[in-house]
Symmetry: C2
Subunit: 249 residues, 2 copies
């Protein structure tokens, strides 16, 4: 265990953790990185899911803690992580969570403030590996939110999406970090639908997309698809910056 620095003190004090909401887009679905959690309940083994997270060392910066925890638990590194909110509700630990914490940390945890980080990344194949004995998986965000995740992790995911939405309002460029270099109009629209959590009219969207100077159509099309091959587009950062300079003046 690498999160026992605090718990060695052996007291039921406040603990501090970081939790990472790592989002990734594959095809037209938004995924979130989760870890399968094993809990013993009434003599039976049950499983549920949690976000990658862990306690903060007392000599560690928050940002460093988030990067370390993510790397240790999932192998994912070099992702730009953005702190979005701290969570400290006293209702965030269920009986099951308390049991799991006790088993994992050998400590009674009564309160656990967590600092939420969100990262946008493309889904890489490496992530499907099992790391450090944890079962790491990508789950469609919609499915994850239907489950009862550990702690208040449903809230964390929802608030992370809100933070992305909020940032995308001010700086749409961050959305394109979720997309592959070449993407279809469908992928871009799906991304907007997920982030803004609403259905978007196909024709209106296409029209608006065409007006974005920084979304460039390529002379390339999908290959080997059953339906009509869609055109690829790419995000042009130089044009984007130009358009922003004009806009903010």
């Amino acid at each position: 265990m690498n999160s026992t620095v605090l718990s060695k003190l052996g007291l039921a004090v406040n603990h501090m953790s970081v939790d990472c909401v790592v989002l990734g887009l594959a095809e037209s679905t938004l995924y979130v990185l989760l870890i399968k959690r094993k809990v013993e309940e009434d003599g039976k083994i049950v499983y549920d899911y949690k976000l990658p997270g862990g306690l903060i060392y007392s000599d560690e910066d928050l940002d460093d803690a988030a990067a370390r925890v993510l790397k240790e638990l999932t192998g994912v590194r070099n992702l730009h992580m953005m702190q979005f909110k701290a969570f400290g509700s006293r209702n965030r630990i269920s009986a099951r969570d308390a049991k799991w914490l006790k088993d994992t940390l050998d400590d009674n945890v009564q309160a656990l403030v967590t600092v939420g980080y969100v990262a946008l990344g493309r889904i890489g194949r490496k992530l499907n590996l099992h790391n450090a004995g944890n079962e790491v998986c990508w789950m469609p965000v919609n499915e994850a939110l239907k489950l009862e995740l550990a702690f208040d992790h449903n809230t964390l995911i929802n608030d992370a999406l809100k933070a992305v939405r909020h940032n995308a309002d001010a700086d749409p460029a961050i959305l394109y970090t979720l997309l592959p270099n070449k993407f279809t109009a469908l992928q871009l629209r799906m991304l907007y639908e997920f982030v803004y959590n609403k259905e978007i009219d196909v024709r209106n969207f296409k029209k608006k997309m065409m007006q974005l100077a920084y979304v460039e159509p390529l002379e390339e099309y999908e290959q080997g698809v059953a339906h009509r091959a869609a055109r690829y587009y790419r995000f042009n950062r130089v044009k984007y910056k130009k358009s922003r300079r004009g806009g903010t003046d």
Copy 2:
């Protein structure tokens, strides 16, 4: 002392606090709410300033802790406070800060993660009272940032301003919560200058302001001023919402 719940444990563990950056506009100056801090250093008494802040109880929600701490230290209440960032750098406690924490909490604090809250309020007269033995004052933000404040409170103020700026980009309405009901073009421009931390051309600003349907000119003018009496304007929330609906579609 009201922040001794954790410190009674008597161990040098991580502590968690909240700090409040309360901003207020008076005339054309942006102020921040500070508390004078008394520290004994080399046998001498020295003073500096800190943000209103305190430890979080282990059975308390973060938002509740922020509201409680602000009320206890300054008497200010019923202010909408927005969490903007958690700070956990190991370098945020200087030797002086550690000494002050030891004197105040009777405890060795090695690490102190704080959750920053920002609130926008008009300056009220009540705030000039001394509360709970603390010397509470409003200080112009520019002056405060020239001082070496306690802990990393210079960073907290700067990051709070960034958060306000960021939110104002997405929703300019929040800026108007800092203004009196009737305000002059000068006040509005000064506010923009503070929040965006840059000089704004007077004539351009006036022109743009005129284009904002939700900033309504009144048939009222300043009274008893030596210079030419300026016209008053007011923020029309209904028109604002209308203009936003049109904009986001």
